[in-house]
């Protein structure tokens, strides 16, 4: 079939052989990066200060798992607070009521405008600021409930408060962007069917906003997972807190940080799976959304097709 050199093929032949372009530059660049990466990894892994036995010892220690449970709990509970509160604050910001709009705007301004580390320390030391928490009717002497702040809010609860309240601010901005991305004609169509504003939001606007909301919320969840490490400053009992308590005694700082890093990598990797599922689910009915954005799978298919 292949024509000999110099022999002119029939230009009308529908099955002419096609010669793909060889990317020599790509090959060389890939080789250089591969060599550099390999030498870096060999150097790190071979460093005696890394102390792999210690890493192995603490990787599956009960203390590590207790910390992991707290870290996961903080992540999910914090995101739950962030999403539910985020929808409420987003709806307030888009409300026709100027008071609700302003208060929601102030909330976002404060919680997005101050470092999360400061917020965590603040909630951790709330007892110093407000020694007792009282539930009553504002501006009267009627008291329904009263308790010591320190007993009501232990370190983990303070950590959750800090993460959750902070996430509400970011979540509300994501939800607001999602709601505003939905075409106004959708609201009008829902109204013209006789839906109330609440029904319109729940049945028509939010399901479509989800397509815009889910990807950044997935990123927020990953960020939240990693931000939980900050609550170690108030001894939040999370993964890093527990491992810090260990290296405060045995001084094996780097091996224990490697243990934490390994677990964080495992968790962030696992988190991306449900995220992709959700993106596909909420992309229903939108042209092009069925194609998942998976660069490696796509590259593999192209490669197979070439052969």
């Amino acid at each position: 079939m292949t024509p000999a050199p110099g022999v002119t093929a029939d230009p009308a032949d529908p099955a002419l052989p096609v010669v793909p372009l060889r990317h020599r530059g790509r090959f060389v660049a890939g080789l250089i990066v591969l060599v550099l990466t390999a030498s870096f990894l060999v150097n790190v892994a071979g460093n005696p200060n890394l102390d792999w036995p210690t890493v192995g010892e603490y990787l599956f220690a009960p203390l590590t798992f207790r910390g992991l449970v707290v870290t996961l709990w903080l992540t999910f509970a914090g995101m739950a607070i962030g999403i539910v509160g985020g929808v409420v604050v987003a709806v307030m910001r888009l409300s026709a009521n100027p008071v609700l709009r302003t208060v929601a705007g102030l909330y976002v301004w404060v919680f997005r405008g101050t470092p999360i580390l400061i917020q965590i320390i603040f909630w951790g030391f709330l007892g110093a600021f407000v020694p007792t928490i009282t539930l009553g009717i504002p501006f009267t002497d009627v008291v329904l409930y009263s308790a010591q702040t320190s007993t009501l809010i232990p370190a983990t609860v303070a950590a959750l408060l800090a993460l959750g309240l902070n996430e509400i601010a970011y979540g509300s901005e994501i939800v607001r962007a999602g709601i505003q991305a939905v075409d106004h004609g959708q609201t009008e169509a829902a109204k013209s069917l006789g839906m109330t504003p609440a029904q319109t939001l729940r049945r028509v606007v939010l399901p479509q906003a989800m397509r815009v909301i889910v990807p950044p919320m997935g990123n927020e969840t990953l960020t939240m997972l990693k931000t939980t490490a900050l609550v170690s400053v108030i001894a939040g009992q999370d993964l890093l807190s527990n491992l810090q308590a260990v290296y405060a005694q045995n001084f094996k700082v780097i091996p224990l940080l490697i243990v934490a890093s390994i677990w964080f990598l495992v968790l962030t990797t696992l988190f991306t799976i449900p995220q992709r599922r959700l993106e596909q689910r909420f992309g229903r009915g939108v042209a092009g959304s069925a194609v998942a954005r998976r660069p490696f799978a796509r590259a593999l298919e192209t490669w197979k097709a070439r052969r």
């Binding site: 004609g185 009008e188 169509a189 069917l193 109330t196 028509v204 399901p207 479509q208």
Partner: protein
């Protein structure tokens, strides 16, 4: 009142509306009687769509009275005063009025059939099983029985608009509003939507139609109303308004369109 001839479905008296300093409606008087098809024609910017949107309170009127089924749109008359209605009660009244939009506005995350049953399920609180059969009938009526499980993005413009009409019909409305229903369609798809509307007119549906389709107005409408600069300048049987226009604005518009 009760012994008089059937009350008009829409009764507009001197309706005015402005957006900021831009006055869009300068006193609209119009009656639409049960079973009538009224076509609103006129150049763009004349206020046709704005008036239509006022009828189901997507826009609030600034002056005059606008009654649907004898009740003020968006208000309740008590002790000689007009009390503004709550969103919930406005929604209840809107449920009696169907609306078809220029850009279809189907719910993209729901299939054709789900779009059609959405209103009865959410607003009328019917059970899904109960309304699915009726939803299929309506899709059949607009010629789309075989596309029930298609998402709007998988349908042509003409098919989407027919689903939108079925969705409006599912609420069993007393009145159907059409806001330039064929203006966003490719020319070869206009006919299928007009056919469905023609059938509805024949079945006695009360319709207020904003359109540029002069041919449709001449054939189907009982009344053609020509609007320019926020007023109805000419109204009457379509043959009179469209074939023998008296007003200079109507004449120049029709000369350009035909």
């Amino acid at each position: 009142m009760s012994s008089a001839p059937p009350a008009p479905v829409i009764d507009a008296r001197g309706v005015t509306k402005s957006f900021g300093t831009n006055t869009v409606l300068r006193g609209i008087d119009l009656e639409v009687h049960p079973g009538q098809v009224v076509c609103l024609l006129g150049p763009s910017g004349s206020g046709k769509s704005t008036f239509l949107r006022c009828v189901n309170h997507l826009e609030r009127i600034d002056g005059g009275r606008l009654l649907v089924d004898g009740q003020d749109v968006g208000y309740e008359l008590r002790h000689g005063k007009l009390y503004e209605l709550t969103e919930r009660r406005i929604a209840r009244r809107r449920a009696e009025i169907g609306m078809v939009f220029q850009r279809f506005n189907l719910f993209p995350h729901r299939t054709a059939l789900e779009n059609v049953v959405e209103g009865p399920v959410v607003v009328r609180r019917r059970s899904r099983a109960q309304v699915l059969e009726r939803g299929r009938e309506l899709l059949d009526r607009v010629g789309l029985a075989d596309r029930a499980s298609a998402y709007p993005s998988q349908l042509s413009g003409g098919q989407q608009q027919r689903v939108a009409i079925a969705r409006a019909l599912a609420m069993e409305p007393r009145l159907l509003l059409f806001d330039e229903p064929t203006s966003a369609l490719d020319p070869e798809l206009v006919g299928e939507v007009l056919d469905v509307m023609r059938d509805l007119a024949r079945d006695g549906m009360t319709m207020l139609v904003v359109t540029h389709e002069v041919g449709f107005a001449r054939e189907v409408a009982d009344v053609a109303a020509f609007m320019a600069d926020g007023v109805i300048v000419e109204t009457g049987p379509p043959r009179q308004v469209l074939d023998d226009p008296q007003h200079e604005r109507t004449q120049s518009f029709l000369a350009r369109v035909l």
